[in-house]
Symmetry: C2
Subunit: 221 residues, 2 copies
DNA sequence: CGCCGTTTTGAGCCTAGTCAATGTACGTGG
DNA sequence: CCACGTACATTGACTAGGCTCAAAACGGCG
């Protein structure tokens, strides 16, 4: 039904470098290559993560394979912290990725001792919630054009310095499963944007230039 | 375009009773009647809230009036806590509601001193995030039938003791704006469920009995 | 009893999905 | 260096699920 592929391989959770954030909030740095799975829905939530470089997609699946990517996590984002014992969604590397893993069992100790780290966790969690709320509005109420416009502006803000040009780390099927569309609709809408002079696409389709941010903003509703 | 009505009136934020949770986590109890607004998107986020009884809808609007209700908050739910200074969504009473308001400015003090309350806040926030993630899957990838099946099972779990019979606090337009559908589709799908013997609807359409939870579960995907 | 808000039902349409084919970039090995 | 294979993206023709517009039915309440 949907463009879901991702034959991800499980990665051994072995730290490559030991990064130190603070005495207690020690994190293990790890590297994942394209498509590798960080954790799967149902896995014990022993760690939570911070992205150092690259992009992580976190997603849920329906029994028949339909996929919803609820977020792309980029540099600085913290994710994978759970209220319960198990991860409620899966997470994979979109391209090559570096993350820092924090032990959840140490969380209460960290929170008790390190006020700054506690604030970061709380703020990051609240920001994830905010993003989720914005995204529910997009999924439930925006048209395909509006969805793509919102997505492009968001990616420009998060990926580029000049807000005008950036390289998408993910492929069309990821975008489709994030926006609740099909790859065909994503492709068609981007072509339409190109023809209208809103954006400029490189042949490979991964590099994007925003030519008319005003028009995109107005499509964003 | 959508079934959005809600001519909500602003409520004066005056405590009716003073409820005490713990020495520091003092909350003001307040009562709202049907349709009253607790706060609006853009308001300063001076308080966050816990539902004592009734239901709160929290939602976002697009410029043309399209509405997405991202959550219904029922007894025990905590909501309205923000990372920034402003509320990122609006909140209204679905019916008559009692809530407890906590001052956000006291939050850091509370967190510092009261470990149990801190855990409740953190857990509540993480649960809100989990609910949001589940709901994104619903909005992005489920059919109308699946959406309604999921919704009914969720409401049964949260509203009824026997998980078989309950009264919906909200009207069709609320359900529609929560599930990313129109009121017509909600109504048609419920009629269809009734004809298939999955549920039983009282004339008013607000009281619902689940006759075949198995079948609903399988629709839930 | 009659009004008003809400829900239900009906008919037709449109946006996005499905199915299928073609095009393009890139890596591999002869 | 080029032929080939694979994965990804684009385009086209057609379909369908859910939306729109419209009207009728229903329930609650003054």
């Amino acid at each position: 039904m949907l463009g879901h592929t991702a034959a991800a391989t499980r990665i051994a959770k072995i730290p490559t470098t030991a990064g130190l954030r603070s005495a207690l909030a020690a994190g293990m740095q790890m590297t994942l290559s394209k498509g590798e799975e960080l954790f799967a829905q149902g896995d014990e939530a022993e760690y939570f993560y911070e992205v150092v470089s690259g992009a992580i997609r976190s997603y849920k699946l329906l029994s028949d394979g339909r996929r919803q990517i609820d977020a792309f996590h980029l540099r600085g984002d913290i994710f994978g912290l759970e209220a319960g014992r198990e991860h409620r969604f899966s997470a994979e590397a979109v391209g090559d990725v570096q993350v820092v893993a924090y032990r959840r069992s140490r969380l209460s100790a960290i929170i008790e001792e390190d006020a700054a780290f506690r604030d970061r966790i709380m703020t990051a969690t609240l920001r994830n919630l905010q993003r989720a709320q914005d995204h529910m509005l997009l999924l439930g109420r925006k048209t395909a054009q509006e969805k793509l416009a919102t997505f492009l502006l968001d990616m420009a803000e998060r990926l580029s310095d000049d807000e005008a040009h950036f390289d998408l780390p993910m492929q069309r099927s990821d975008i489709a499963d994030h926006l609740g569309l099909t790859i065909e609709t994503v492709s068609r809408t981007l072509t339409q944007f190109t023809r209208s002079g809103l954006i400029r696409l490189t042949p490979a389709g991964r590099s994007i230039g925003l030519c008319n941010r005003m028009a995109l903003k107005s499509l964003d509703a």
